[in-house]
């Protein structure tokens, strides 16, 4: 589910227009915008009028100026696109509906429709639309309640309040008790959360405290998935802490509350790496996520032909992989806050093509080992690719053994320097490679040349003779040679 899915079509279009203006330097003519938004001039004009109306409360932060031919954007230096998105989200009926459902556990159409200034039929339509998106989380608004596994409900609302509605919306009566649990947890587990992570744990606990009073909950899959973790030492500690804490209040703790907190801690990345490392040494290595962590670390080592990884790098890999795997094992669905494809493109700019395909292989292994259903609409699965990609980039960057490539272009008196620079940039796309114009008496791992009579290097390095300048064929061969040299 994308964060924009909480908005109506017109609201999405308005944001899309502002976003386009930002990417176009703050100005665009009508024709460009009509094409980009795929709308007629009349629709563009009505969209512009609608934005102008919507932005009135933000007149000190953002404004649009349009004259029938071009549109200009003005934004205060301290204002961002993200803030504008939040402004729209806060007014969204779907957001208000989900917020209401969280606070009230259940509703009737007759009771809620007037509160949202909607007719009952419009409200039903909104619910239907929301249900289409909630399907990814295996949730459904039905009979006046959000229905589904309790873990999924808490997970969805955690994402909702973190990214959509804003954490401040929850600072109510649960705040005091949640803060106490965070502090108790730090004390009891001997862990110190980073401020940002502490806020995330706090948010999870606020949601948990609120949901604790829900009478009918479903935890069938959680129970099944937790079976290999029941004797886990961290889980046992969390259970004991939560039970003892709850015993001081008039609440009825249950096994599932502790299990859900455990799942959150494992999958959300809030546990500091040194703490996770200590936990990893004692955890059950046969549990699904743990054995997959080990399997993938070994697969990565074999793939890149490393004999051994530096100690701290291996620890960081386990830390990241364990979060990806715990999330995939326990949760369904994700709320896409950032454009995933855009991020993937950015990552790819700093990595080789082979890294992406290897990330995909890792994901396939995960699907097989965790016996995950092959779902096309599970955002979490899509995001895991980015996660593996990051791990691989982290490893290849750190393990990079710098290979020196000398470029020797003797048959090219004209534009020689420019050509060497361009060729160098292409070669350096392979991680851990430095290219320069060949210097006499300097050792190189590889010399790329346009001369067939090139002498074998004294250092034992390889020579590659270019078949044609800038040909994809040469580029592929050079990449292959460099990869083999790395091993």
């Amino acid at each position: 589910m994308r964060i924009e899915d909480f908005l109506e079509k017109q609201e999405k279009r308005e944001l899309q227009l502002v976003s386009y203006l930002i990417h176009s330097g703050g100005e665009a003519d009508y024709a460009e915008l009509e094409e980009h938004l795929d709308i007629t001039k009349a629709s563009l004009e009505s969209t512009l009028d609608s934005i102008a109306y919507s932005l009135r409360p933000l007149s000190e932060n953002i404004a649009l100026d349009y004259d029938g031919r071009a549109v200009r954007l003005w934004m205060d230096e301290l204002f961002s696109m993200q803030e504008l998105q939040h402004f729209y989200l806060k007014q969204s009926v779907k957001v208000q509906l989900l917020d209401y459902l969280f606070r009230n556990h259940e509703f009737s159409l007759t009771q809620l429709a007037p509160q949202l200034a909607l007719s009952e039929s419009s409200l039903s339509r909104k619910i239907k639309e929301l249900n289409r998106y909630l399907k990814e989380f295996e949730l459904k608004i039905w009979n006046g309640r959000v229905q589904g596994e309790e873990l999924q409900i808490r997970y969805f609302y955690y994402l909702f309040y973190r990214f959509v509605q804003g954490k401040e919306a929850l600072k109510e009566r649960e705040a005091g008790i949640s803060l106490q649990i965070v502090q108790t947890m730090e004390n009891y587990l001997q862990v110190s959360f980073e401020p940002e992570n502490q806020a995330r744990v706090f948010l999870w606990l606020q949601i948990a405290q609120h949901r604790m009073h829900t009478k009918k909950t479903v935890s069938i899959r959680l129970k099944e998935n937790m079976t290999p973790y029941m004797e886990d030492k961290l889980y046992q500690k969390i259970r004991s802490m939560l039970w003892r804490f709850s015993s001081r209040y008039s609440v009825e703790p249950d096994e599932e509350d502790a299990q859900m907190l455990f799942v959150f801690l494992l999958s959300s990345g809030v546990l500091p790496e040194p703490f996770f490392h200590d936990y990893r040494l004692t955890r059950n290595r046969n549990s699904p996520a743990a054995s997959l962590d080990t399997y993938l670390v070994e697969t990565i080592i074999i793939q890149y032909g490393y004999r051994k990884l530096p100690y701290m790098l291996e620890r960081r890999m386990y830390h990241t992989l364990s979060q990806i795997h715990a999330a995939l094992y326990f949760f369904k669905g994700d709320l896409e806050v950032h454009d995933r494809l855009f991020l993937l493109e950015q990552e790819q700019k700093i990595a080789e093509e082979s890294v992406r395909s290897f990330a995909e292989t890792l994901r396939e292994i995960t699907v097989e080992k965790l016996k995950l259903p092959n779902e096309t609409n599970n955002g979490l699965m899509e995001w895991s690719l980015l996660g593996y990609f990051s791990v691989l980039v982290m490893v290849t960057m750190e393990m990079r053994q710098v290979l020196r490539v000398g470029i020797d272009l003797k048959h090219l008196p004209m534009y020689r320097e420019t050509t060497i620079s361009l060729l160098g940039l292409l070669i350096e796309k392979v991680n851990g490679v430095e290219a320069e114009e060949c210097q006499p008496d300097k050792p190189y791992d590889l010399i790329v040349t346009d001369r067939r009579e090139a002498e074998p290097l004294e250092t034992g390095g390889k020579v590659y003779v270019l078949s044609e300048l800038f040909s994809p064929f040469d580029q592929k061969n050079i990449e292959r040679i460099l990869q083999s040299l790395k091993k």
Binding site: R173, E174, G176, I177, Q180, T184, N187, Y188, Q209, H213, K215, M230, S240, M241, W243, R244, F245, S247, R248, Y249, S250, V251, E252, P253, D254, E255
Partner: protein, 438 residues
């Protein structure tokens, strides 16, 4: 002035009596939903153990006594609604409904043990016994049962387990934590009692929470995660909770569903007070407020609310959670923080163990003591004791010391009576001395 009190157990009756004493001119109206008042919630245990011969003896107060003091008592009167604007209480009675107008209202509606997470508690073989009618039903079922499970190993659960055992029943106790009475005792301190329970054939199932109860023929099956236990009946001895549905959300509640009150026990509506099991109690050692549904807290909050009816004069001092019991041949008592609970205490602590004798006579029993002090200030934070002899009164001295934040020096140097037949060379409450002996 009309003072209406909802609920006639420890909190409500204490509030009524104190109101009568402090405000002789006031009309005091006590509303009770059951057909009797002043019932001892442990009546069934007393009956099972033979301490009383009939539930008729399990009362600490009667309607007649209260009426003689000028308190209007209405039994079988269940509060349905409170109207804060109209200052009235609407009740259902046998003959229809009644409305009582108030100037001051004290909510002392008590609590009930229930679980909305355990499936199947509605079975007639799952017993609660806090009220007289429930105890009567439970008594009947227990008489016909051979094997009874007790769900919850707190004080009420352990006392019930002993009473059932004494009654010749096979007993299983299911406790979700690692030891019985975990709120008040650390595991090593309660170990002797647990060993005795096991020796007497009680089946202790720790670290297990009952998820569902199922009737199978004449028997009950308790589902405990991946295992189960079979019995003829089960006593539900889990945490109690208040039921404040009649307030219909008009007054703010705490996250745990208790009534939010200030230090004078006033709710957001200053003419409405909350006492007993309906409110959280300040725990001065950590500066927090907890839910401590103890009779002594109910009595003290009831009296405090009555003192503050007209103006806020006496804040409620709170509780250091003082408990004592006798079970399976052991006398046990605790006050203040346990070691396990020090995770909620912000400062470093020191833990001490000690053994002493109950007298100087040859047959004197040993008293095992554990006490926790603040590592820097040496202020006493908590004490647990266990002995074969009745030394329960000693916990009251410790409770006062903890409540008034006394340093160890005060206890060490305090005066005590010496009598070889009743004390050791130094009293059990003079903690720091060189005459230790086990």
């Amino acid at each position: 002035m009309n003072v209406v009190i909802i609920g006639a157990s420890f909190g409500g009756i204490s509030a009524a009596l104190q109101t009568r004493k402090k405000h002789p001119q006031a009309t005091v109206i006590l509303l009770e939903k059951t057909s009797s008042l002043g019932y001892l919630p442990s009546g069934l245990n007393l009956l099972l153990s033979g301490s009383i011969s009939s539930l008729d003896e399990a009362y600490f107060m009667t309607a007649k006594e209260l009426k003689e003091k000028g308190i209007q008592v209405y039994l079988d009167t269940e509060v349905r609604r409170v109207d804060l604007k109209e200052k009235s209480v609407v009740c259902a009675t046998d003959s229809g409904s009644d409305v009582y107008r108030y100037d001051k209202l004290i909510v002392a509606a008590g609590s009930t043990p229930y679980s909305h997470k355990i499936i199947g508690t509605q079975s007639t073989k799952v017993l609660t016994y806090k009220q007289r009618a429930q105890a009567e039903e439970a008594w009947g079922v227990i008489q016909r049962s051979r094997h009874v499970a007790v769900i919850g190993g707190g004080q009420a659960g352990i006392e019930a387990a002993e009473a059932l055992h004494e009654n010749g029943k096979q007993v299983t106790v299911v406790e979700s934590m690692d030891n019985v009475l975990f709120k008040s005792f650390d595991s090593e301190m309660i170990q002797p009692l647990q060993e005795e329970m096991i020796r007497k054939g009680v089946d202790l199932k720790f670290h297990r929470a009952v998820t569902a109860i199922e009737e199978q023929g004449e028997q009950l099956v308790l589902h405990l995660g991946d295992e189960s236990a079979v019995c003829d009946a089960a006593l539900l001895s889990v945490n109690v909770r208040p039921d404040l549905a009649f307030l219909d959300g008009q007054l703010p509640l705490n996250v745990d569903g208790t009534l939010m009150v200030d230090e004078y026990l006033r709710t957001e509506d200053l003419d409405v007070f909350g006492v007993g099991d309906c409110v959280q109690t300040p725990f001065p050692l950590t500066g927090e407020s907890f839910y401590m549904p103890l009779a002594n807290n109910a009595v003290r909050t009831g009296m405090t609310a009555a003192e503050n009816l007209m103006e806020p004069v006496r804040p409620f001092v709170g509780s250091v959670r003082t408990v004592a019991a006798q079970a399976f041949g052991w006398y046990i008592a605790s006050t203040g923080l346990t070691e396990a609970e020090t995770q909620f205490y912000a400062r470093p602590v020191r833990v001490h163990h000690k053994e002493t004798k109950t007298s100087m006579l040859p047959d004197a029993e040993t008293v095992h003591l554990k006490y926790i002090t603040d590592a820097d200030t040496e202020v006493l934070l908590g004490v647990q004791l266990i002995s074969k002899e009745n030394i329960l009164q000693a916990i009251n001295t410790f409770a006062l010391a903890v409540q008034t934040e006394q340093p160890m020096d005060t206890l060490t140097g305090k005066e005590y009576f010496f009598q070889a037949g009743f004390t050791d060379l130094v009293d059990v409450t003079n903690l720091e001395h060189p005459f230790e002996r086990g």
